[in-house]
Symmetry: D3
Subunit: 130 residues, 6 copies
Amino acid sequence: MTDRLEQGKRKFEELYGAGKADGLIAMQTGLAQDLARYGIEFNFGDIYSRPGLTLAQREMITLGALVALGGLEPQLRGHTRGALNAGLTPTEILETVIHVVQYAGFPRALNAIRVVTDTLIECGAEIPRP
Amino acid sequence: MTDRLEQGKRKFEELYGAGKADGLIAMQTGLAQDLARYGIEFNFGDIYSRPGLTLAQREMITLGALVALGGLEPQLRGHTRGALNAGLTPTEILETVIHVVQYAGFPRALNAIRVVTDTLIECGAEIPRP
Amino acid sequence: MTDRLEQGKRKFEELYGAGKADGLIAMQTGLAQDLARYGIEFNFGDIYSRPGLTLAQREMITLGALVALGGLEPQLRGHTRGALNAGLTPTEILETVIHVVQYAGFPRALNAIRVVTDTLIECGAEIPRP
Amino acid sequence: MTDRLEQGKRKFEELYGAGKADGLIAMQTGLAQDLARYGIEFNFGDIYSRPGLTLAQREMITLGALVALGGLEPQLRGHTRGALNAGLTPTEILETVIHVVQYAGFPRALNAIRVVTDTLIECGAEIPRP
Amino acid sequence: MTDRLEQGKRKFEELYGAGKADGLIAMQTGLAQDLARYGIEFNFGDIYSRPGLTLAQREMITLGALVALGGLEPQLRGHTRGALNAGLTPTEILETVIHVVQYAGFPRALNAIRVVTDTLIECGAEIPRP
Amino acid sequence: MTDRLEQGKRKFEELYGAGKADGLIAMQTGLAQDLARYGIEFNFGDIYSRPGLTLAQREMITLGALVALGGLEPQLRGHTRGALNAGLTPTEILETVIHVVQYAGFPRALNAIRVVTDTLIECGAEIPRP
């Protein structure tokens, strides 16, 4: 196991809990596991492990980018959990989605906030009132 | 209630029927209702209420933009109903989707026309022959 | 010359003036002329020549789709001219861009309206006041 | 039936098997069949029938473009089958998806490789090990 | 002048300096000024003025979304200045762009970081070493 | 220097010539050099160095993905050179762009083929006739 993979797993599990990194790779089949492994090595070993931004800031930027790209519901669900674990409040998470409406338009923002709100509810988070 | 919200609801209900604007907001939970409310205020109170284009023209442009952006099936379904209510014929609605194939490519246009045709059938519209 | 190419040129020149279709192809070099020719055959011979929508409606949908896709300044300039020639007023053209802000966000709409306004001015159109 | 339609059906059925082109059109309803027919005429009659690239190369480029555009699962499934039929190996197909991660990011590549792997398994292909 | 416009100008000028909001509108011509005004009213009067996120957090999310959408250089330049004025450090600004590479791919991230770095240099900011 | 960086430079220089990898990093300033270095390590050290596809196939897929994403002219220019160096013919390179028109639409394909053709001419390649 490379140092980057080890470092990536450590960072990933700091966000998602012990043993979760191997689970992520095991969710893929065959050659696709290489792509999942790159996700651990590069995304979590290289990028999330950089100094300069806190994990909470990184999850906030991630949510903003995912809303902007559109059509990435599985990732929105995963990173809503990651954002809570990084210490963002439900208000900060939902405000991040609302903030992006200016740049990505209403359809992407509305579809995203439905997924994010549902995930927050599944996680037992209290949903702030409007 | 602000004037823009009132104006937005009036315009929205001109397209979708009485009481529907509150239903749109009620479909969201907690803070996400603010985003739905902005959709009524800004999209329908500010933009759809502008002079210079008819409601039918606005629905036609909306369908074209949604096909181009891709992956926005819930909005395509809603605006197919809106387009019918604004007086566009099934032919005009389907031709709008076909027209965008030049700019957005076949996959987005084919996926969109399936959703639009199904919605037209649900609305009891007669589907024009090829 | 195929019937579709001939039909495409006729439709293209109805919008842009006599002799312009050959000019469009001549703007490309070598194999790329095949792609320009497909643009005449398919876009103008097949799609713009369909019944069911007027040329003015088609140009309106085109502008909406181009704003939504983003980054297509050369096409926005061309179709602003086409829209004028199809009989759309400067107000209708600019309102089309403003309408799409809800779906594609402010950056794409603002960058597009700058290009469209500049093209309208180059064409000698009177720019409507806010 | 035009020559391009006939040529398109021949090329499509070279990839997908006898009788499949009519099935593709029959999957759409009413006016949408025109769009499906253009897909046969233009995509398969004009483009896939061009010299200069093999069918296998064309399917490889198609997969790369579909991953990059995102949100096009039905097309990814269809072209994974087409790619196998054109003679690409499961390794080449999966490596194509992995290759695009650099340009389109991890979420689109990971969502695509799940769909592509599942389709390969449905086709009875042996999935290469990481 | 509406309250939202006034509020939007106040928030905009908190970021960009006194008198800048009118300058933004004056950069557009004719009807396009309505779109610029909506940008002040909705983006800065409604969204940036919400509680729940700091201005610095909002600028960070904005940069992430702009990198993800791609092709929005004028907005990247503007918001790099806004981010500095909101108190983000050059390191935080550049790390935000680097963070998005995982989601939007290398081409968009590399093109964005060139624009952002150049703007930071124009602003007299010290560029952190690798 | 890590093994991946060394491996990435070797692969990059196999495509672009001796000493070019350091030049790529030197084109960026400060922290942005980290992003350029990741491009060498991950894109060329990890991905382009994988078995399963030839360099020529990888450049073909890259061009297809870049056309689909849109607005990435600097990368299109670079990879047109890379594609020639990997042994693709001008015909294969131009046919790759033409092939993607079905999926990404005419505006992106036409803007891309202009850039690719110009780069081929700059490289002294003979442009195939239509």
